[in-house]
Amino acid sequence: MTFGPFLLLALMEGLVTAAVLALAASGLSLVFGVMRVVNVAHGAFYMLGAVLAWAVAQHVPGPAAIAFAAAIIVAPLVVGALAAATDGLILKRLNYDPEATIVATIGLLYMIEQATLSLYGPNANPVQAPFEWRIQLPWFGYSGYKLFVVLAACVVLLTLWAFITRTKAGLIMRATQVDRTTARSFGINVDRVYMGTFALGAGLAALAGVLIVPIQQAHYLMGGDTLLLSFIVVIIGGLGSLRGTLIAAIVIGLCDGVISMFFAPTLAKILATLLVAMVLVFRPQGLFGARS
């Protein structure tokens, strides 16, 4: 293959990474934006989504598409419910103190990982893709499922955007994000908003985990890389800015695809971390974040 098709392949791979990253990072950004909580356990929620997809696939008989459809519904709901319980049992009791919640979510990360290791085991397990369709381009064939991941992420993110900007619940979330004390004095139950936001953020991470698991096997430590990349994306995009998160996810995802293809995946991570350092030095609020 010549350079052109190689670049096209790298960009397509990068687009898949960007799509999954955008889903996971938008959850992290939403939680920080509304609750001011830095959720270190976000990668664990992503991993749980993937592991639950594997578990559902083991228990649902019939075609792989049915098991996958069940996993896409069940995993985000279960992880969202776990996150809601975590909010009520831990974060609320810490009064959402920024430092205390970081420590608490680090603890939660280890608890979820170790519980998964005990129940699921140390092996990486594959989940069959819901369909085996391939697109044949003149230079190479490409997985139709990977394009489905990009499409699914676009649909979910558009739905999330419409939810936040067009619905009453979204308006309540945005008002709470701006000023939770004033929101309370207008009848908004801030505790309930926080619980819903934390569940939604975790559910998005789990959905990203379900979508990635037919491409990348489910493993109890798989959340680490995603957590790091999600933080990179959220910091570059601007903490709490959904638009910035999406744009940063596309930039980081495409760079990751191209650099991994032509050089090495490790170099892609090094450059992304360097980019974060530069953003923190020259524009600490991120590309689209508001200056505090």
Partner: protein
Amino acid sequence: MALDVQGIIAGYGPVTVLRGVDFRAEPGQVTCLMGRNGVGKSTLLKCLMGLVPAASGTIHLNGMALESLPAHEVPKRGLAYVPQGRRLFGPLTVAENLAIGGLVQGNDEASLHRVLTLFPRLRERLTQTAQTLSGGEQQMLAIARALCLAPKVLLLDEPTEGLQPSMITLIQEAVLTLKAQGVAVVLVEQRVDAVLKLADSVAFMTGGRIEKTVPAMELQPGAEVFRTYVGV
């Protein structure tokens, strides 16, 4: 509906600010709270809204106890609050700010029509974000947002602070309209002329207590009581 406050003690952590406040706000009347900085006027309003918890004492609205309710339940009982500095939802549009005000009532269109009749200038600004409004328009929006709750009691914390005279007149006219509609208005105000124009009674605070309540008609500009409790 009368607001009846008895023996309220409240503060922030170990610091007690309110040391046994008793007062009453009647429907269709404006009760002004006056006092020097730090005597607890704003804390009293926050306490009435449940934003600062009362350590002891009672708050009743027409016999209904409010002091133990969570803050988000208080506006549902008929209290609305316009905080000092307005505290608008800045990145949200005027229409969205008003929609937040209308959440409790659920009657969005009717409450919107009512407040836009009172503040017609906001009608032209509905799609503009709140942070881009002028100071006077922001204050109108802050009051309009509170009025979307259709309150029985309206708590206003220095609503004319930092506004130009034409805006002050507009805000004062709105307060008088609300009074005529039977709303009980509790107003924290430092300007003697505004107090004398709007108030039915004036409660003077010092040391976290209401020391003296005087009918406004008995007060004159430059009265001794203003010098004693407000320093003007």
